[in-house]
Symmetry: C2
Subunit: 211 residues, 2 copies
DNA sequence: TGTATTCCTGACCATACGGTCAGGATGTGG
DNA sequence: CCACATCCTGACCGTATGGTCAGGAATACA
């Protein structure tokens, strides 16, 4: 009788373990914060000895940094919907849908990001100043163009973007509060749909992109 | 020559010191999170020996609990504006102004609250289930009434409230990100006014409370 | 098959943390 | 002025943390 077809080549094992550790770390960091998280607990969640984490990630901070970077990537990809769109109703509507979906599927990641920024971004300040800055300026130009074409009201693009981020990420970051106010149960599929609909209604109508 | 008129009676000293410690704790907790904050650092910020903190507040958690409760009180008071109002434009507009002002004046408190909720409210879960729940239901009824009176669109009150909280608190919790995207400078008075105006425009127009 | 390389981990270490306490200082009320 | 209560704090303690390391196990490669 052979062993169950366990893990394969060394290279594959490495990738698997790194993914495993990153997933465990994301969960623990989101629940306890950077300061409250311990390498021992991350190791337990990942099902590996603590010393093994330090083989793959030399320090707690380097592990944390990679967790944050992964989230930021997912986060940026939601922008595609924005760019391809013809007008504000379509583009911003799709962006809201995408970001709401991320809040639903990756709440832990969103919390880690929120925590990092709230603590003055000690680890990813350079990202804020470069990648995020460029991203924001690019989207602001699109919004300004839509305003100039009179497809929406004259709204300050930055404040609109802040509102989009705030509202959509709130469903992840404050998910526990929402759950409590929902009688202790997570939002159902229908309730998530209602949330998306409400958000899109208010914002798209609020900026004059729909009647 | 007399001493400078230093602190007075014992009772007054107690109140002064407790205020001093709570202020220092709010700052440190907001910057480092509960897990990352240390009693030593709070003591240094307050300018008192660490052992003295433990005289007034037996444990780190009891100190933290009082910090969170203080914030929650301020936070609830902003509701007054909501209740007294005649209609949605007035009531919600004033509520937005009040919450934006809190974000500006008490950013540290807002961050502590956000952090607490993000970590599943280990310390103030009872508040969420009682006080916040009642508060929310009360405000939801007012909104439902406005809807019934056709003074605004048929919006789900809970999702509207989440949007109000998310958007206004974003200016405190993500203040660092906003500052970075603002070229590294805090928002000026004019920029704060523009923020309030944008938020009120989008939301009030979005719910059909103004044209 | 031999050996070089990568992977893994139990045991260990220095440090820093929350919290305690004995005993002195300071104010209070009679 | 005295006796009492409150206030204050340096020194200390047990514990848990991030990180290290020697040496063994597993795999790759020739």
């Amino acid at each position: 009788m052979h062993d169950a077809p366990r893990s394969n080549s060394k290279r594959e094992r490495r990738q698997e373990n790194e993914k495993l550790i990153l997933a465990a770390a994301e969960k623990v960091f989101s629940e306890a914060g950077f300061g409250g998280a311990t390498m021992q607990l991350i190791a337990d969640v990942a099902g590996l000895p603590k010393a093994n984490l330090h083989y793959y990630f030399p320090t707690k901070e380097s592990l944390y940094r990679q967790v944050v970077q992964r989230i930021f990537q997912i986060w940026l990809q939601a922008a595609d919907t924005f760019d391809k769109a013809e007008g504000p109703a379509e583009g911003i509507g799709a962006y809201i849908d995408a970001k709401m979906e991320i809040s639903r599927r990756h709440p832990a990641g969103s919390k880690v990001w929120a925590s990092e920024v709230m603590h003055r971004a000690p680890v990813i300040q350079d990202y804020l100043e470069t990648t995020l800055m460029e991203w924001t300026e690019g989207r602001a130009k699109i919004i300004d163009r839509w305003v100039a074409e009179e497809r929406m009201d004259a709204i300050d693009p930055n404040h609109l973007l802040y509102m989009l981020w705030a509202t959509t990420q709130h469903y992840a970051d404050f998910g526990h509060q929402i759950e409590t106010l929902n009688g202790g149960s997570p939002l159902t599929d229908d309730q998530w749909e209602a949330a998306k609909t409400s958000v899109k209604h208010i914002i798209l109508r609020g900026i004059g992109a729909i009647k």
